[in-house]
Subunit: 339 residues, 2 copies
DNA sequence: ATACAGTCTGACACCGGTGTCATAATGTCG
DNA sequence: CGACATTATGACACCGGTGTCAGACTGTAT
C-alpha cells in the first residue's frame, strides 16, 4: 500500500461503494450493522483516517478553533506572560474536551494581524487573548464583526463594543484588594499599573480599588500612582521612580503579579521591608506568586474556568445561539506580602 | 454578497477564468502583470481568502505542524510545567517564522494517544514534547515510524531508537552542576530526580553529575538519592523523606527547577539554611528560578533555540532531506542558592 | 506567406470526502 | 396479489481550490 488509504480502498476491500464506507465510518443509522462492522474493521487494518481537508471542504467547517495571543511588542521574545500561558493551557484542555482542535498563534500588537483563520476556513472561530492596547485593534474587531467572523475576547468589557467577551470581574477584584488592605489597616496606598482607559482591565482594577477606598474617605493621590505594563521589569522601574520621587505609602496594589514581583524587588533593594513597611497585593495568581519571597497576596483569576467559558461561549456563538458576555468572580489569596 | 467570496467570484468580476485567478493570486509568472494587479485588487475588495481546505486537499499538505504535549497524568489540571510552556512559546514563534500554523494538543501519557494528525492530513508533521514515561510510548513511536509519519521528539536520545530528537545535552548539564559544586567545595551531594532509565533525561543529568564527582574520587551514595517527578510537590516530599531518614549533605542537585523549588521549601521548613547549609542547583532555568528566595542556581536550557531546532529539523525531515538529532549546549546560571 | 518561439489564458480533471436522490430488496397489510 | 412503507445501497454532483494541457495571440525569422 503506497500512500494513505482512502475510503475507496476500503470500499474495494469491503465490496461496497465508497458512499457506504463514508456512512459506515460515521456510524450512520442507514447502514447495515454487519456492513458497518466490516468497514470499521478494514479501516482499522488499513490504518485509515478521514482526510480532514476533504471532509472540512465539503462540510464547510473545521472543528478547529484558533487562539490569537496578543502581546506587547516590547516584550522579551522568550518570555510570555505566565498568566496567558496558564490560560492557553486551560483553553487547550477545554477544546480537547469539546472535540475541537486548537490553532495557536502569537500576534504582535504592533504588526498588522490578518485574522484570516476563519475566512480561510482554517478555524470555525477565534479566541482573542491579550492585555492592553485594545484601542489599537478596536477597528479590527469591527472588521471581524463586519465579516461575521465568530470570535470571543478575553478581557475587559468595553462599553459600546458589541463583541462577546469573557473576563474576570476586574472591578470586583480591585474591591477585594482594597477591602483587604483596609482590614489590614493599610490605607496609605500606592497603585502601579495603568490608570488610563488605554488598558481597560487595569483601569477597572484600579477603579474598584479607588472607589472602595473613597467610600472610606480615603483618596489615592495621583502622586502615588505609576504606569507600568505587565512585566516584572516595568513594575520594578515604576516602583523605583516612586521611591526616587520620595513618595511615601504603606501599601501597594499592583495591577498584575508580574508588576508586583518587580515592585517587591525594587522595594527590597531600597531597604523597604515587605510586608512590614509596605503591604503588597498583586493580581492574577500566577504560579510565581507562591514562590517569591515574601509570597505574594493576590487576586486570583480562575483560568480553568475562564478557558472553559471562552470555549463554551465561542461554540455557542458558532452554533448560532445567543450568548451573553461572562464575568467571572475573582478570589483573594492572602499570602505573606500582606500580613 | 452572501457567504465567503470564492475565486469564481473574482473571476467573474475580473472578466477572466478561475484558473487565471488562482494563478494570479499565487503570483505565478505566467499571468500578465496587469491581470495580476486587477485580480489582487478585486480579491482585496471582496475580502477574499484562499480556502485552506480546498488548497490543502489538492496539494496534499497542510502548512501546519502539530505539537503534542505529554504530561504526567498525576499533574494538577491547571498547572502545566512552565518549562514546556516556554518551549511552546518558542515553537509557536518558530512556526510562525516559517509560515506554518501550529496545532496544540495535550495528551495524557496514560491514555491512548491516537497520533492521527498527520494521517488525517491536519498536520504535515508532529512535535512530541514531554518528560519521562518514554518507555510507555516507545511502541507507539514505532507505529509512527512504521507509518512514515514525520515527527521530532524533544528529550533524551535513547540508544537504538531511530527517531529524530532534539535535546539539551543533559549529561553535559550534569557535569556543569557537579563542577560548580566542586568549585564551591560542596561535594557531599544529594540528588533528587529519577536515577533510573525510566526517565532518560533525568538519568543523563544524574550520570553527568555522578561521573564528574567520581572523577574527583567522590561517590554519590544511594542513600543520598530520592526519586521525584518534575513537580514542586514531588521535590518537596522527596526532600522531606531524605531529611526524615536523617541523611546529611551540604549540596543538592535537583533534576529540574520545580523539584529544586520544592526541595528548598522542604529544607527551609526543616531549618536548613540555603545556601549556607546546603547549596542547591536546579535544571531548566524556568522564570520562577529567578523569583524564588534564595534565587536558584540552575542549568539553563535554551528554549528559544530548542524550539527553533525542533521546527527546523521537522521541516527538513518533511522536505525529505537528511537530518541528524541535535544536542544543545546547556549553560550554568549561578544565583544565590549556591553562593 | 510560413514557420516557429514566447506569452498568456481557459477548459478540465482531480484531490477525498459528504449529501442527495434514485432504486433495489425485503417486509407488511388489506 | 398489489400498494406501500422500510431498509440498505450505489451513482453522482459538489465543496474550492491546483496542475496539466491545449490553444489563441503576438512578434520575429525564414
Amino acid at each position: 500500500m503506497k500512500g494513505k488509504a482512502t475510503s475507496f480502498d476500503i470500499a474495494h476491500y469491503a465490496g461496497v461503494s465508497q458512499s457506504t464506507v463514508s456512512r459506515a465510518l460515521r456510524n450512520s443509522p442507514l447502514v447495515n450493522e454487519e456492513t458497518r462492522r466490516r468497514v470499521h474493521e478494514i479501516a482499522k487494518k488499513l490504518n485509515y483516517k478521514v482526510d480532514k481537508n476533504a471532509s472540512n471542504l465539503r462540510t464547510q467547517q473545521s472543528s478547529t478553533l484558533a487562539l490569537l495571543l496578543f502581546e506587547d511588542p516590547t516584550e522579551d521574545e522568550s518570555q510570555i506572560n505566565p498568566f496567558f500561558l496558564s490560560m492557553l493551557g486551560s483553553i487547550t484542555r477545554a477544546c480537547a474536551k469539546e472535540g475541537y482542535d486548537l490553532l495557536v498563534s502569537f500576534q504582535s500588537t504592533s504588526s498588522d494581524w490578518h485574522a484570516d483563520y476563519e475566512d480561510s476556513h482554517r478555524a470555525d472561530g477565534l479566541i482573542l487573548l491579550g492585555y492592553g492596547d485594545y484601542i489599537d485593534y478596536q477597528s479590527k474587531l469591527q472588521t471581524l464583526l463586519d465579516n461575521h467572523t465568530k470570535f470571543v475576547c478575553w478581557g475587559a468589557t468595553v462599553d459600546n463594543r458589541p463583541d462577546l467577551t469573557v473576563s474576570c470581574d476586574n472591578y470586583g477584584g480591585g474591591v477585594l484588594a482594597a477591602k483587604h488592605l483596609i482590614d489590614m489597616v493599610r490605607t496609605d496606598c500606592a497603585f502601579i499599573g495603568d490608570a488610563s482607559d488605554h488598558s481597560p482591565e487595569f483601569f477597572a482594577r484600579f477603579k474598584g480599588f479607588r472607589d472602595t477606598l473613597k467610600a472610606k474617605g480615603i483618596e489615592v493621590s495621583d502622586r502615588k500612582m505609576a504606569n507600568a505594563i505587565s512585566t516584572e521589569d516595568s513594575g520594578y522601574h515604576a516602583t523605583r521612580s516612586l521611591i526616587a520621587n520620595n513618595v511615601k505609602f504603606n501599601a501597594l496594589f499592583a495591577a498584575s503579579d508580574l508588576i508586583a514581583i518587580g515592585a517587591i524587588k525594587a522595594l527590597q533593594e531600597a531597604g523597604v521591608r515587605v510586608p512590614h513597611d509596605v503591604h503588597v497585593v498583586g493580581f492574577d495568581n500566577i504560579a510565581a506568586a507562591g514562590y517569591v519571597s515574601p509570597s505574594l497576596t493576590t487576586v486570583q483569576q480562575n483560568t480553568t474556568l475562564a478557558g472553559q467559558m471562552l470555549v463554551d461561549n465561542l461554540l455557542t456563538l458558532i452554533r448560532g445561539e445567543a450568548v451573553a458576555s461572562t464575568l467571572l468572580p475573582p478570589k483573594l489569596i492572602v499570602r505573606q506580602s500582606s500580613r
